[in-house]
Amino acid sequence: MAWFRRERSPLPAHEQESRVPEGLYVKCDSCKEILYRKAVLDNLSVCPKCAFHFRISARLRLELLCDGAWEELDRGLVSADPLAFSDTKAYSDRLRDGKRKTGSLDALVSAVGTLGGIPTVIAAMEYGFIGGSMGVVVGEKVARAVERSASERMPLLVVSCSGGARMMEGTLSLMQMAKISAALARLDAARIPFISLLTDPTTGGVTASFAMLGDVNIAEPGALIGFAGPRVIEQTIRQKLPEGFQRSEFLLQHGMLDMVVDRRELKKTIVRCLHTLLD
């Protein structure tokens, strides 16, 4: 028996980056300030010194936005690993790891809750689950959320946080973009408000489908938002990208977003938007 045992397996690199790390004190990824962890959490996981927004889980997101309890939708949907995919690791193992890490069966939590008293369908993506990638389960859950929003005439809020379509489900993942967009076409015709909230990061097929289709598109500050990832673009044009490229503020300047809103002002702002759009 080993004398020393690691209590938890270390988080993968992309996870370590932005989630508020464990421990009494944490170091801000942006200003490098050493912060009392509780002070960060009490500040909605925003750095009290420089306002850097730490990445948060889907469930914490719902907690921050909803007035109280919410009713989770389609909690039991799980991928059947339709391609029996395996790379350096079997996809079925990745799904199992994702579940262990996040407590969810896939990369999105959808719910009905109230925001400032307004009954709303809310879906939030979970980056900790295979990079928030979209396969058939995410596609199905978003499509069902859209349909619920239409049938009960409740506004829809989708919080994106994703690297894009999920390679391990191949072209099925790609088709979720069309499936969700077709559902959104109906919501559009039914004149139900859809607010898209883009958080760090929102790229690939998620940006190129529902994340950019909000009646109102809102982003958190400093979020990476784009179609192609920065590395791919650098390889294509063979030059370094300018500072701030593909960040929320850049997209606002280029007309792709309605507003960039600090997490601490987010709920108030979304509620105000809903008031201006609802009967």
């Binding site: 799980v78 059947a80 391609l83 058939v136 379509a165 072209t171 790609l174 077709a182 940006t207 280029h254």
Partner: protein, 319 residues
Amino acid sequence: MPEDYEAPLLELEKKIDELASQPAAPAVEAEISRLRGELSEKRRQVFASLTPWQKTQVARHPGRPYTLDYVNALFTEFTELHGDRRFAEDPALVCGFAFYKERPVAVLGHQKGRDTKQKIYRNFGMPKPEGYRKALRVMKLAEKFSRPVITFVDTPGAYPGLDAEERGQAEAIAYNLREMAALRVPIIVNVTGEGGSGGALAIAVGDRVNMLEHAVYSVISPEGCASILWRDAGRAPEAADAMKITASDLAALGLVDEIVPEPAGGAQTDPEALFRTLDAVIDAQLRELTAVPPESLPGARHDKFRRMGRLGTEFLETT
């Protein structure tokens, strides 16, 4: 550069050429004819059992017909329209109106170039946002004037460049997906070569989706997938296999409606034969789709894509 699957065929062709250069004699003639038979049998065999990675190479073959070749072969009076009315003209995606067997239609598709100059002019068939916005403008015109839309898909992907990002590549694609889903005219999609991810899908939300036998359609290129998952672009053949990107795989998953057979050796060996086959497919589908009331099309198209990712097959519902 010859691809690996071509090696045995090239060897036979070389033998035939060598014999043909010899002085004519009955024995030589007989041998040549025997080898020709062997070559065509071999070609049939090779092309009937291409791996997904080999199909990717066939799909990218520079001799394959491109959109304007289909337009010339299957349509008359093609009238190209240009520009998105917002920013620019994009030669990587060609759009216009034409006649298909005396019936007025809108036709559009990705356009690649054959020589270096044309490749650069067409940006290797990778549209920028203005290309997608032009395509939607023409599709909306088609709706306004009740013209069915026929599209040809053949792109490595939407252009991943700085300017494309600045002008909202993601928004342009997303908007096309939503608006195509609601278009009140028939849409027939033909994936003829590379179906490169969102850049392909942005003109591929159709009532019928056809795919050429050796075309591929994927969420990311095999090289891209391999470099992310295996951290080695050289493992693209494995990625091509794992992602299930061929016409037969996609038809089995219910993502593609009809596989269009190619002549042995691929579309480039006998484009005329391919045009005839594809022509019959499009003609039949157009008859079906123009027979239904146009207002019922968006509903049926929605339902078709809504079924992609089926309960019990691709995902399960647990308690």
